[in-house]
């Protein structure tokens, strides 16, 4: 990657500000999107906490399910890379020319809308979660180690989800409707990343799959870390697998971007 990547932060911040300004015009649209993303985990929150009743399921009480799902909603919002959906359009409609003609790396464009988007969503989601927490009374045994480990797990989860979706979206250089793969990614996240059920409650084979594949590490893993579901060794293995997938995603992103651009500049936009 070019050295200038790290030099032009002024331009990057300016991009974030402007994207944010223009997105604030659509606040309500983004609020509706954010609301849509909250609904499935909210449903499963109610299902599992009702099922647990006064007892517990695999050691999780009603309050533990509430805590798990409320944090999951937050993590899901923070890690959801909605920018990935626009990359394909950018390439298909030649708008990417504009990005390519700027003297800063194209990644800045995506990162700026990521950061701008998070701000808009969280303004909406955090107050709702606070209210839900008051009503539903979560139970959380927060240890210092779990709390401190949550932050890197969350950041890696975001990076993994962002770059994973990005490299899928970059397939638009070759195939016109590459965003179908993004929809597939969303489904797998829904299934394997702790939304339908916490990964610990998945049946045998599915659980193994969840642990091996990258999707758990996009959402569920940081939630499991902070809610204390993991033993020390499970946590360390988790971090190792998460980092491995993240590095793989970044490498795939860099390769696809490079070869994609080569192809783009050969066939024209």
């Amino acid at each position: 990657m070019r050295r200038e990547t790290f030099v032009s932060s002024r331009g990057g911040w300016a991009l974030i500000r402007s994207t944010w300004l223009s997105w604030m015009q659509y606040r309500s649209f983004f609020f509706i999107l954010a609301f849509g993303w909250m609904i499935p985990p909210l449903i499963y929150l109610l299902v599992w906490s009702t099922a647990a009743g006064e007892g517990s399921i695999s050691g999780m009480t009603r309050g533990a399910f509430v805590a798990y799902y409320l944090i999951l909603i937050l993590v899901n919002q923070i890690t959801y890379a909605q920018t990935n959906w626009t990359v394909g359009d950018l390439i298909r409609y030649g708008q990417i020319n504009k990005v390519l003609l700027r003297p800063i790396p194209p990644l800045y464009d995506a990162l700026s809308s990521e950061i701008a988007g998070k701000v808009v969503y969280l303004v909406f989601v955090v107050p709702i979660l606070v209210i839900l927490a008051f009503v539903l009374k979560p139970e959380l045994d927060l240890t210092l180690i779990n709390g401190l480990s949550f932050l890197p797990a969350l950041i890696f989860a975001w990076a993994l989800r962002f770059f994973w979706g990005y490299w899928l979206a970059l397939l638009a250089f070759w195939a016109t409707r590459a965003d179908a793969l993004l929809a597939l990614q969303d489904s797998l996240v829904f299934l394997l990343a702790g939304q339908v059920a916490p990964v610990a409650l998945l049946p045998g084979a599915l659980k193994t799959l969840a642990v091996i594949l990258p999707f758990r590490y996009m959402v569920a893993f940081p939630v499991e870390v902070i809610t204390g579901q993991l033993t020390r060794s499970e946590m360390l293995t988790g971090f190792a697998i998460q980092c491995a997938w993240m590095i793989a995603a970044v490498i795939l992103y860099a390769l696809l971007w490079r070869f994609g651009l080569k192809r783009y500049s050969a066939v024209g936009g």
């Binding site: 020319n97 003609l101 050969a266």
Partner: protein
């Protein structure tokens, strides 16, 4: 040329285009074993442009103008040949190079749709790392030249097409590029907006010394702005020089418009005209003739002698007519 800023040598661009027959079966087959055909968009063109020149790149749709422009800007990688712009190889897209050029595409916008232009301009200023006071100075100059002070704070989506083009031009010039590529900048604009933008471009080119390469389908743009035109057709360079010399080469004719006195044209036509003269129109006392350029004065003299001429105009065929002939015949 010592102050050459753009050097293009034997530039060629060939696209590989997937060929697909009609129907579901064929499209399934092409999925497994795609076939391609090669299309040469630009074929071995060479030219040099000096710093501060304003050059029109003309040619019919699909001639290879935009492909050429994209290769100069660094968006496309040529199949063969060399390009150097301000000492850089464009397709490496080094940030230092990108800071020295700008490209305006009449059909693509670099403004953010929902926020006022001023905000977009500031972002661009940061992206191009233009120092603060320089940014303010450039902005003020452009705003004044384009008379757009009152547009700065309206959301872009509320602006008209012409107003938006003013913003595009400002946005592309804030970092004072050495080379400006304009792809159809007057597309869809009304006549008076076209005039104003033309005047702006001429003034700006003169005062800043920015090299401008412009493509346009409006010959008026090219006539008003570009002392030099490069004509591309079927990917080949057909003409590099003045528009006027192109006209002379392509159409070695003059048009004579004659108004006669009270008596109209004689019943039996106009006598004593050589075969090379073509009568374009002959109605009551008006007579339009197409005569070979070299014979124009001799024929005029003869007509003045034999007919009662009250008014006589000698003119070149319209540039649109010339261009139409070139485009449709492909110019041998």
């Amino acid at each position: 040329m010592d102050n050459t800023i753009i050097k293009v040598k034997e530039l060629t661009k060939t696209y590989r285009v997937p060929v697909r027959a009609e129907g579901l079966g064929a499209s399934l087959k092409s999925l497994l074993k795609p076939t391609y055909s090669e299309v040469t968009a630009v074929q071995s063109i060479s030219f040099e442009i000096a710093q501060g020149e304003m050059v029109g790149l003309i040619g019919p749709n699909g001639a290879g103008k935009t492909t050429t422009l994209k290769m100069l800007a660094g968006l496309l990688h040529p199949t063969s040949g060399q390009v150097s712009v301000a000492g850089y190889e464009p397709w490496q897209r080094q940030p230092e190079y990108l800071k020295r050029i700008s490209m305006v595409m009449g059909n693509k916008s670099q403004m953010l749709w929902d926020i006022p232009p001023l905000d977009s301009f500031r972002v661009l200023g940061e992206i191009y790392s233009v120092p603060k006071n320089e940014f303010e100075r450039n902005l003020e100059e452009l705003v004044q030249l384009l008379e757009m002070k009152d547009l700065l704070t309206k959301p872009v989506r509320n602006l008209s097409l012409g107003e938006r083009m003013k913003c595009e031009l400002t946005a592309s010039l804030l970092h004072k590029p050495s080379v400006l590529f304009l792809d159809e900048p007057t597309l869809g604009l009304d006549v008076s907006m076209q005039l104003r933008l033309r005047r702006f471009l001429a003034d700006y080119n003169r005062s800043s010394g920015t090299t401008v390469i412009l493509t346009s389908h409006y010959m008026a743009d090219v006539m008003a702005l570009c002392p030099r035109v490069i004509l591309i057709h079927h990917g080949k360079l057909l003409h590099d020089g003045e528009l006027g010399s192109l006209a002379r080469r392509m159409m070695p004719f003059k048009i004579l418009r004659i108004t006669l006195g009270q008596e109209s044209i004689p019943e039996n036509g106009v006598p004593q005209l050589p075969d090379s003269v073509e009568v374009l129109e002959a109605e009551s006392n008006l007579l339009n003739l197409r005569v070979p350029r070299g014979d124009a004065s001799a024929i005029t003299a003869k007509l003045l002698e034999t007919l009662n001429v009250v008014d006589l105009i000698i003119e070149d065929p319209s540039i649109e007519a010339v261009i139409d002939q070139v485009y449709s015949e492909g110019a041998q």
